[in-house]
Amino acid sequence: MTLDITALRVSIGGREILHGVDLRLEAGRVHGLAGESGSGKTMTGLAVLGLLPHGARASGAIRLGDRDLLSLPAKELNRVRGGEVAMVFQDPATSLHPMLTVGRQLTEHMRHHLRLGRAEARARAVDLLAKVRIPAPEEAYGRYPHQFSGGMRQRIAIAIALACSPKVLIADEPTTALDVTVQAGVLRLLRGLCDELGLAVLLVTHDLGVMSAVADEVSVMKDGQVVESGPRGNVLRTPSHPYTRTLLASLPTPPPEPDSPAGPSSGSDAEAR
């Protein structure tokens, strides 16, 4: 199933934040949304789920299959949210409830959306925890978020998002709060899940490195508009919009080459083991 955002405009308190955003998410593809803070990346993600701040007005269309999410009545929208469209937030320390066990947070929406019984939901939750590679999923089920590390918590947040087999996953800066080594694992997980489950993923990130690693298509936003959109290689290697070029130029690199001729062993044989 595809998610089509066309001419999305959002205004808060009379001020227009998004000036006509067009995006298309396809099953099994990761669509990256880049841009600096305040450019409207997060607002676009929130608009899909109807989570815009109080008093915001949205116009345009967000089509999921043959439904328009913007004009859907609240009751039906609730069926879509968490069920067909799920979201992973930036900071797993705040997006998980600190006083409920991981199991409780994993099964609550499953039982609601999928009408599963207690035991079925539990079995599915343990499967999910195993799928996102949480060690000892049976025990993890009964633990609380503070008993896990940041990377593990983000994996759990991803498991919660995947619980009702969504078609669309919106990941808002999912690795920004994590260490690079942990980030690598979460990115691999996201990419793998996208390929395996045919998810349409919207990856919101400011990190063009992350973008380059997992996204198939990249869109760049500036001041509430998409200024450039296209396949990853084109946008990152031969950017056509001057803003994309400034974004790329402002990176603190030429990229590092940790595998350049070095000490007694080169990086490539480290990988071979």
Partner: protein
């Protein structure tokens, strides 16, 4: 002569009913005046504990910290001698007092330095904020602006060593490199040393003259930034650098370092990195490589 010398520092956290956690287990590091040293490592490796110990916020179990030739003593409740070390904390939403005007908070620092000529507004100007902001309260500012105020407050005390404990990780991506560069410029300008702690390697690379890589309470590699970046020698440093995704448009997933950071309450014997090291040898399991600048048996000094 170095400004700050940390020698074989050990810091332990004790809590009742739990095993003793050795957060810093024999780390040595120096910072010279006007030098920027970046300390990197994964979360839980002891970087923040090391910074807090340098400020006297954590008692030292073993080893020594000398600042300007004098040992650093634990911070007293009311007054301290060592105002030469100032710290900028991670979260500017928590480190500024919400009920006091920012100008008054900066004035605290000026009073410590017995500075009667500078006004808080001057310091705001130095960190790139308008002078009239001194009358405002912290809630009127964005995260990046608050961190600038925290930096102004630390600089007001005329420190000779500035410590930033993840000063940019709570900030928005676009503000991160600006604030990091600002800290560097202000510290170098005033001739102070800067110990910059962060888990973001690309930002540390931007600001630091030297990089120290920490793993599980130990400093495993120290070297000039360009040198470490171009030719990382310790397998852990290599793994860290390889995990940074590159914006090359090729779609290469960054390399994953297998396993988790072991529990510092029960560190593995021998080299602390050996269970995760791709190049592990027999000697690594038995003997701890306690030498520098690269604490790895592959780089044993002759």
């Amino acid at each position: 002569m170095s400004l700050l010398a940390i020698d074989d520092l050990v810091v332990e956290h004790r809590s009742p009913g739990r095993p003793v956690v050795r957060a810093v287990a024999g780390a040595s590091l120096t910072v010279a005046p006007g030098e920027v040293v970046g300390l990197v490592g994964e979360s839980g490796c002891g970087k923040s504990t090391l910074a807090r110990a340098v400020c006297g916020l954590n008692p030292v179990t073993n080893g020594s910290i000398t600042f300007d030739g004098e040992p650093v003593t634990p911070l007293g409740l009311r007054r301290r001698k060592l105002t030469g070390i100032q710290m900028v904390f991670q979260d500017p939403y928590a480190s500024l007092n919400p009920r006091r005007r920012v100008g008054d908070q900066i004035a605290d620092g000026l009073r410590t330095a017995r500075d009667t000529t500078t006004s808080p507004a001057d310091l705001l100007e130095r960190v790139g904020l308008p002078r009239e902001y001194a009358d405002r309260h912290p809630h009127e500012f964005s995260g990046g602006q608050r961190q600038r105020i925290a930096i102004a407050r630390a600089l007001a005390a005329r420190p000779r060593l500035l410590i930033g404990d993840e000063p940019i990780s709570a900030l928005d991506a676009s503000a991160q490199s600006q604030v990091a560069a600002l800290m560097r410029d202000l510290a170098v300008e005033s001739g102070a040393g800067l110990l910059f702690i962060s888990h973001d390697l690309s930002v540390v690379r931007l600001v630091a003259d030297r990089i120290a890589v920490m793993y599980l309470g130990r400093i495993v590699e120290v070297g000039a930034t360009a040198e470490v970046w171009a030719r990382p020698r310790h397998p852990y440093t290599r793994a860290l650098l390889r995990a940074v995704p590159q914006p090359d448009g090729l779609g290469v997933l960054p390399a994953e370092l297998p396993g988790d950071v072991p529990d510092p309450a029960n560190p593995p014997g021998g080299c602390r990195f050996h269970p995760r090291c791709p190049l592990v040898m027999d000697v690594c399991r038995d003997k701890d490589p306690d030498f520098g600048p690269v604490a790895c048996w592959l780089h044993e000094p002759k």
